[in-house]
């Protein structure tokens, strides 16, 4: 509060500083670890576990054993295998929806912020409209029209993520266009396309990376919610949301079936949120501490 900033600061290597700032925050490191564990479960887990669809109806709700490390579910399927397969679905949904939203949203945002003119107010108004609209109502309508599937969940999620990405990349472009080096590039006769992808994009990368770490967990929760409501991944295919739907009926006899997938969603989301917070603080020290 009420600081008089030291008016001259000595520069050290940027990457070193970044890493040091990031590693100094225990919460950020915890986030990184959680994300790493989630990635491990999603990528390697399915290779090491049994078939998540194989049923042993006779042993339904069986407790953990050497054969089934976390026990089995109501249909006698290996719980750990289903959790690992669900992690893979979550990862796919989170990463693909974010990537899709970025690929579409970043150019729109950069162009809107860089060119301004008549296009900017239109983009922003549309953007505000989508931003505040209840996503789930939209997703429900989307699922009603196009059907319930993982592919459609990813598309719906990316549309839901789009406005934030557009707004943030537009904000970046608005700041960057006032910078001298952009003016220099324009004076040198650089074409708008060159300016957008050679100048604006690389300089917005930090912010966009932070934004991606925020968007991925939204995608993960989104997929889980939609699958939970029956609008996403369809049973018997495993997804953390699908698993919670069926676990809801057996809350009394097998609460662990509801606890595992939910806890994993929370851990993965928490990991990405901590990682995002840590990255933002490391990249933008003025807001930290």
């Amino acid at each position: 509060m009420t600081t008089v900033a030291p008016e001259s600061v000595v520069m050290i290597g940027r990457a070193t500083r970044l890493r040091r700032r990031f590693l100094r925050r225990p919460m950020a490191v915890l986030g990184l670890v959680l994300v790493a564990l989630f990635l491990l479960l999603a990528i390697v887990g399915p290779l090491l576990t049994p078939d998540p669809l194989a049923q042993e109806l006779t042993s339904a709700f069986a407790s953990p054993s050497a054969h089934h490390l976390l026990g089995v579910d109501d249909l006698g399927r290996d719980e750990l295998a289903r959790l690992a397969a669900g992690a893979r679905v979550s990862l796919l949904a989170g990463v693909l929806s974010t990537a899709l939203a970025m690929v579409v949203g970043v150019p729109i945002g950069l162009a809107s912020g860089y060119f301004r003119g008549w296009i900017d107010p239109i983009v922003m108004r549309l953007n505000d409209a989508v931003l505040a609209f209840p996503f789930l109502i939209f997703a429900v309508g989307f699922a009603a029209i196009f059907g319930a599937s993982l592919r459609n969940v990813v598309i719906a999620l990316s549309i839901g993520l789009l406005p934030t990405i557009v707004r943030i990349s537009r904000g970046e472009a608005l700041v960057l266009r006032e910078q001298d080096f952009i003016g220099g590039a324009v004076a040198d006769g650089a074409r708008p396309r060159t300016i957008m992808f050679r100048y604006l994009l690389p300089n917005s990368l930090n912010t966009l990376i932070v934004q991606a770490t925020v968007a991925i967990p939204i995608g993960i929760i989104g997929e889980a919610v939609l699958s939970f409501l029956g609008l996403g991944v369809q049973p018997p295919n495993p997804s953390w949301g699908v698993m919670l739907t069926s676990a809801q009926q057996f809350l009394v006899q097998a609460p662990q079936l509801a606890i595992y997938p939910g806890a994993l969603i929370a851990i993965a989301t928490l990991g990405f949120n901590l990682l995002g917070d840590g990255l933002r603080d490391a990249l933008d020290p003025k807001d930290s501490r």
Partner: protein, 327 residues
């Protein structure tokens, strides 16, 4: 004359991620009752930090302050925050550089002035409002009573700075610290605002510490000047003496950068002092100006120059002041 405010070997260090920054290394000066003292130097020389240290307005964390700041003999650096609060706005008040952001956008001008009055005086809301109107009249704001109901965004920069001044003098302080009060304003408005500060403080008998980088402003309003370089004072004198016979090469350099002097010498460009202000990371025992100085000798790099009184009440910290060259 006994000093009203005495800054005694003040040093301020900021702790940053890249190590300590020595913003103020060793500052001593006095402010006499009713006088206008200008603290002059380039940006980054530590003049604002010096000023903000006086009413302890620097951040509480990551800042180390050494030395003493005495107001009427009482050392402010030993006071608790609660006692400082009682003192700020009543005995020492501040006008900041940025009139655009220094007023709260959510409160009316009148409320922001009455707030300081009611904080330090036992008066009713109504009396406080009447005082506020009176103050706005004094600082030259037309239609003062109606303006009390205005929000800052409805006023121009000059008007806002006048409001800031009204707020600062509301409790008749002993010391007014004006930190670059006109820097953010249009040139045409600057003179008026300076005039308000000067006449008001003369009338009230308030002593002013004026922080500026602009020697033109100094010549216009100040009685005495302290020139500051790299966290230290390098020259102090009365305005008259300083402008008549500047001693320190740095002061000369600053004067060369004045537009009026550029006109006089017929030069098309303002003179610039070559080189950069040194990074405030260490404090070697040498003249810090030496690298940028045309008169520097090995002596300057061997040890820091001590204060010498060149003429009555004209002090300089330099081995090669102007008068010796001439003489």
């Amino acid at each position: 004359m006994t000093a009203l405010l005495e800054v005694d070997h003040l040093a301020v260090t900021f702790r940053t991620e890249d190590g300590p920054v020595l913003a103020v290394k060793d500052m001593s000066f006095t402010l006499n009752p009713g006088e206008i003292l200008a603290l002059v130097g380039e940006s980054g020389c530590g003049k604002s930090v010096t000023a903000m240290s006086i009413p302890a307005l620097l951040a509480t964390e990551g800042v180390t302050r050494r030395g003493a700041v005495r107001l009427s003999g009482q050392d402010l650096t030993t006071l608790a925050e609660r006692d400082l609060e009682a003192l700020r706005g009543r005995d020492i008040s501040v006008v900041f550089q940025e009139p655009m952001t220094s007023l709260n956008p959510a409160y009316t001008v009148g409320r922001q002035i009455t707030e300081v009055i009611q904080r330090h005086q036992q008066v009713s809301r109504r009396e406080a409002l009447d005082q506020a109107v009176g103050l706005l009249v004094k600082v030259g704001i037309p239609d003062a009573r109606r303006r009390c109901g205005s929000y800052p965004h409805q006023l121009s920069g000059g008007m806002r700075q006048r409001v800031m001044i009204a707020m600062a003098v509301a409790c008749d302080p002993k010391v007014l610290i004006a930190d670059e009060p006109t820097t953010a304003l249009d040139v045409t408005i600057q003179a008026g605002v300076l005039q308000v500060i000067r006449t008001l403080c003369r009338d009230l008998g308030t002593a002013v510490l004026l922080i500026t980088h602009d020697l033109g402003v100094v010549a216009e309003v100040a009685d005495r000047v302290v020139v500051m370089y790299a966290g230290r004072a390098v020259e102090q004198a009365s305005v008259h003496s300083l402008f008549a016979a500047p001693q320190h090469p740095y002061t000369l350099g600053l004067m060369g950068a004045l537009p009026a002097n550029a006109l006089r010498t017929g030069s098309r460009r303002l003179a610039e002092i070559p080189g950069l202000v040194p990074a405030p990371v260490d404090d070697p025992d040498e003249c810090q100006f030496a690298p940028r100085c045309g008169r520097a000798t090995s002596e300057c790099r061997a040890a820091r120059p001590q204060w010498r009184e060149i003429r009555a009440d004209h002090w300089v910290a330099c081995y090669h002041p102007t008068h010796e060259e001439a003489g």
